[in-house]
């Protein structure tokens, strides 16, 4: 852990430098346009300082985003509607519910596909097709339909999150469950192990590396799904709604703050999966 700090800081520093340069570059046009409209000349240093303090920059400077984040996180009570923590919590709970649903669905389908030839042949192409349906297009319809059935609140969001997250889990698990080599499978056949035993004792443990790679993608996908679902869910609470209203009012800094809030959340979630992975693999003796 300690060894990672220096590299991370280095990379971060590099990013911040590039970011500032980008902010100056992207925001300068507005500065010059405004000066032209006002009929004044700006010097280079005036231009730089202006680009880093605009109210609605094309690319907000790092310190502006940091301030936006800080205001959103620490600037208010976490129960306030203006608190990013509050919105992140709403998004997080739907994400976890969706991730849980999606993971279970993905694993169950993968198990079915690996064990039943009929499922392998028929489900996989349609699972793929299902993912090519643009979710943002049908999310509002899903929400409308579910709302008319009286399902509201977290569940519709979770369902959409699950819809996005089950697929990476499915693909990874199908691969993983098929990863045991011929000899490992033959061994079980000599024992006449049942399919269930083959699953628990061989296929599942052998699929662990694939599963975790997929879970990392899956949990990020669940978060995206939740945020997508928050857009049309009546745009009320959650980071998605926050992003949307930021966009709607052209508050670039607020968008970026919400965006970073979401990314921090995603990074934390992926990190947690990584920790679980390390613990599991270690316990299973697979991390050498």
């Amino acid at each position: 852990m300690k060894k990672s700090i220096l590299p991370i800081l280095t990379v971060l520093a590099a990013i911040v430098v590039i970011w500032y340069a980008g902010a100056v570059w992207l925001n300068s046009q507005w500065t010059y346009d405004q000066a032209a409209r006002a009929g004044v000349e700006v010097t280079f240093s005036e231009m730089v300082s202006d680009t880093l303090t605009q109210a609605r920059p094309v690319l907000p400077a790092p310190h502006q985003v940091a301030k936006g984040l800080w205001d959103g996180i620490a600037g208010q009570k976490i129960t306030s509607k203006r608190s990013l923590v509050y919105h992140a919590w709403i998004t997080f709970s739907a994400t976890m519910a969706g991730f849980g649903l999606g993971t279970i669905a993905g694993i169950l389908l993968a198990v079915g596909i690996v064990h039943s030839r009929a499922m392998d042949m028929s489900v996989m192409p349609w699972a793929i097709a299902s993912q090519t349906i643009p979710i943002l297009a049908i999310a509002p319809m899903v929400i409308v339909v579910l709302a008319s059935l009286g399902i509201k609140g977290m569940l519709p969001k979770a369902i959409i999150a699950a819809y996005l997250s089950f697929f990476p889990v499915l693909v990874g698990m199908v691969k993983g469950l098929r990863a045991p080599d011929a000899m490992q499978l033959d061994l079980l056949r000599t024992y006449n192990a049942s399919d269930a035993q083959g699953f628990w004792k061989l296929r599942l443990p052998a699929s662990m590396p694939y599963l975790f790679a997929s879970l990392k993608v899956g949990i990020a996908a669940a978060l995206v799904g939740t945020i997508v679902a928050e857009l049309p869910a009546g745009a009320t609470q959650g980071l998605g709604a926050r992003l949307l209203s930021g966009s709607y009012y052209g508050q670039t800094i607020q968008i970026w703050a919400a965006l970073f809030g979401a990314a921090i959340l995603a990074a934390l979630l992926v990190l947690v999966v990584g920790v679980v992975e390390r613990i599991t693999l270690k316990r299973k003796g697979m991390a050498q």
Binding site: A182, Y210, A213, S214, L259
Partner: protein
């Protein structure tokens, strides 16, 4: 439960039974491999049609498959124009750039422990920025046309491919690595001769997931600003006009294109990783 419901369940069970029978009876035959998913699909469509008609679902909520088919037939040139705008330009360009970048970054990251520790967490973080937040920004930066859609796709496919590729590069067994060490293979040699081949099964995992993500990304990005063509544009406009058959016609095109794209990658995978137990077993 209504008669429609029971009918639907009975139909489903019958169709599934027929499929199981075919799949188990003729596991190897080529025609079964095509027939079974088709039958399954037809089953879904018939159920859909039956339920929509039987339960009198409003066409502005969910149109019946026959309505969708009619809409497809009536709008071929429109659908083709949208397809080439969104998929041939936006999605494909983004996919190639995004996957390429992810593979290169995975290799770089794998090469340097420093970058691995520094870039991977930060990379994870950046790549985890939700698409709906990035799309408006990228539209602002790259303009309304397909370039901004490609940029969204790049951002979307990058993370899954990166994660899988990094896992794949780490997936060699100790004995294989020791062999390389005894020959004192240079890093690029070990990479090309051992780690890349060993990473392929994982990489293809990522590439397959990325195909569907690329499509979603390109379509969804059009919701945030676009010229007046493209599948995402058409979908959002048609929803606003309550022209749901057209919406589903676009979705059908997307699903067909996505399945075809996925199938293509799966075929390449089969050829490239024939030696992996998951491919040999079948």
């Amino acid at each position: 439960m209504s008669a429609v419901g029971w009918g639907a369940i009975a139909f489903w069970l019958a169709a599934w039974g027929a499929n199981s029978f075919l799949a188990n009876r003729y596991p190897k035959a080529g025609w079964v491999k095509a027939l079974v998913p088709t039958l399954f699909g037809i089953t879904l469509l018939v159920l859909w049609q039956g339920l929509v008609r039987g339960l009198n679902v409003s066409p502005v909520i969910l149109p019946a498959p026959t309505d969708i088919a009619t809409a497809i037939g009536a709008n071929i040139p429109l659908l083709w124009g949208d397809f080439s705008q969104t998929i041939l330009k936006g999605a494909l360009a983004g996919y190639l750039i995004g996957c390429g970048a992810a593979i290169v970054v995975a290799v770089l990251v794998d090469r340097s422990p420093f970058l691995q520790r520094g870039l991977l967490p930060v990379g994870n973080f950046v790549a985890a920025l939700p698409i709906v937040g990035i799309a408006p920004i990228l539209v602002m930066w790259f303009g309304f046309d397909w370039q901004s859609k490609a940029a969204v796709v790049v951002v979307m496919v990058f993370f899954p491919v990166l994660v899988n590729m990094v896992a794949g590069l780490a997936a060699t067994d100790a004995l294989s690595r020791d062999l390389m060490a005894t020959w004192s293979a240079s890093y690029p040699q070990a990479l090309v001769k051992l780690r890349l081949p060993a990473a392929l099964p994982f990489l293809f995992n990522g590439l397959k997931i990325a195909t569907t993500l690329a499509l979603i990304g390109a379509i969804v990005a059009e919701f945030f600003g676009s010229p007046t063509r493209g599948m995402g544009f058409r979908i959002s406009t048609a929803v606003g006009q309550l022209d749901l058959p057209l919406v589903w016609a676009e979705i059908t095109v997307a699903a067909l294109a996505g399945s075809g794209f996925y199938g293509l990658i799966a075929m390449i995978e089969k050829a490239a990783t024939f030696w992996h137990p998951s491919q040999r077993g079948k």
